[in-house]
Amino acid sequence: MPASAATYERVVYKNSSEYHYMKVCLEFQDQGIGLSSAQFKQLLISALKDLFGEVGAALPLDVLTYEEKTSSAILRVCSRFLPFSLHYLVIVGI
């Protein structure tokens, strides 16, 4: 059994998370539109490009999970770009 490192230590991380996570869902007026995960991501990138240009389109964005049936996803964005992400999600209607 490895030797025990029994000393007490406590660290408080404040606002240190590198990423923020969002659960989003895309709703269409017409039902029955199915998007693949790649198409979903492309849609987000083009929305970012429309709003914030090339720089916006280059913001790091990961689609961690995607459910085609409901067009819902969990996104991961860098914390320092969070305000931009929130803006565009609101405007895109998510």
Binding site: M1, P2, A3, S4, A5, A6, T7, Y8, E9, R10, V11, V12, Y13, K14, N15, S16, S17, Y19, H20, Y21, S37, A38, K41, P60, D62, V63, L64, T65, Y66, I74, R76, S79, R80, L82, P83, L86, H87
Partner: protein, 363 residues
């Protein structure tokens, strides 16, 4: 301008990471579990394990029951009969069901006998009870917290204080809520919540249990003495925390850095385990049950095991008015208040406690 500034700011969040050893007499692990009252989801992950042991399985199936009662008048929780039967004999927890902590009136009963009312301004003024403004109400106070100490009230039921509280809740502004209730009884009393609230359509519920075996899971390498991790040696506690969240959400972590959809991957260094057992219990779970589970998981390493560590994660109800002890909890953007144990094979442990913007620092 202030609105724009607020939009640009990331919501404040805190992650407290502690390391210690279960065998040390000053370890607070039990105390911190017991002080976190309203638990919604309990999950544990055991790498290198395909099937749970009989003891763990039966423990997991025994994490209830809890009760759901519709339209329960609030004054029923301050009667001397209720206090003497349930509050004083064991630990009784209650939480209003389907009430949003930032918008609706919310009530919670804590095992120490404190009844916490989180009321909107109109209701607060109509009840006529004494309280204080909510810490997280903003510049315009829209929410008030009224703590009622049932143990203190029960000492003298003829007091003016008890009469006033009783009158306020029974006649001045009778409030009714749907409640989730649970009771851990100490002793051999025959009374049960089911029989006590039988006239209010009380239903017994059992927590939902989900078990799955994860195959070929990349797990971060950890060293119990290195909370911050070591370059090329071990991962840090925050990295482990993020990774665990990804595992619970069934996120694919086998991504190349140039993958279009996602570049999320397991923190390095890591090892691949052929199988891992993930078990999740969802319901209204008492801290006493979680203590028993933690003790059982602690003893997982009594016999030699392949796994270097196992985790136990507990999430609180997002709309509970308290997080740990009587610290006020608010929702803001997520309402998260959760903790996670990493139990190492040498009985060292890491304890991570996370809260959002509308919470004090965990104890």
């Amino acid at each position: 301008m202030a609105m724009l500034r607020r939009l640009r700011e990331m919501p404040r969040h805190l992650l407290v990471c502690e390391k210690f050893n279960f065998g040390h007499n000053k370890s607070r692990h039990r105390h911190l579990v017991e002080m976190h009252y309203h638990n919604y989801k309990v999950s544990f992950l055991i790498p290198e394990c395909g099937l749970l042991s009989k003891e763990l399985k039966s423990l997991v199936m025994d994490m209830g029951p809890y009760y759901f009662v519709k339209n329960l008048p609030l004054h029923e929780l301050i009667t001397c009969e209720f206090i003497n039967t349930f509050v004083k004999k064991g630990s009784c927890c209650a939480l209003t069901y389907n009430t949003k902590i930032d918008e609706d009136n919310t009530v919670a009963l804590l095992p120490n006998g404190k009844l916490i009312l989180s009321l909107d301004k109109d209701t607060y003024e109509e009840t006529g009870l004494q309280g204080r403004p909510s810490q997280y109400s903003g510049r315009k106070i829209m929410k008030f917290i009224v703590p009622i100490d049932l143990m203190d009230l029960s000492l003298n039921l003829d007091s003016k204080k008890y009469e006033r509280v009783s009158w306020c809740l029974k006649e001045k502004k009778p409030l009714k809520f749907d409640f989730l209730l649970a009771w851990h009884q100490t002793g051999t009393e025959e009374s049960t919540l089911m029989s006590y609230f039988s006239k209010y359509q009380i239903q017994e519920r059992h927590p939902r249990v989900a078990m799955s075996t994860l195959r070929n899971l990349q797990c971060p390498e950890l060293r119990s003495g290195e909370l911050h991790g070591e370059p090329e040696g071990s991962c840090s506690a925050p990295e482990l925390f993020d990774w665990l969240g990804a595992v619970f959400c069934d996120v694919n972590l086998n991504n190349e850095p140039n993958n279009f959809i996602s570049t999320c991957c397991c923190p390095q260094p890591s090892t691949v385990v052929t199988k891992a057992c993930l078990c999740t219990v969802t319901g209204f779970i008492l801290p006493e049950k979680i203590c028993v589970l933690l003790e059982q998981l602690r003893h997982y390493f009594d016999e030699p095991k392949l796994a270097p560590w196992i985790t136990l994660s507990v999430q609180g109800f997002a709309d509970s008015p308290v997080s740990w002890r009587e610290k006020e909890h608010g929702f803001w953007k997520g309402g998260e208040h959760l903790y996670n144990f990493v139990i190492f094979n040498n009985l060292d442990y890491w304890l991570q406690m996370a809260v959002g913007a509308s919470d004090d620092c965990p104890p």
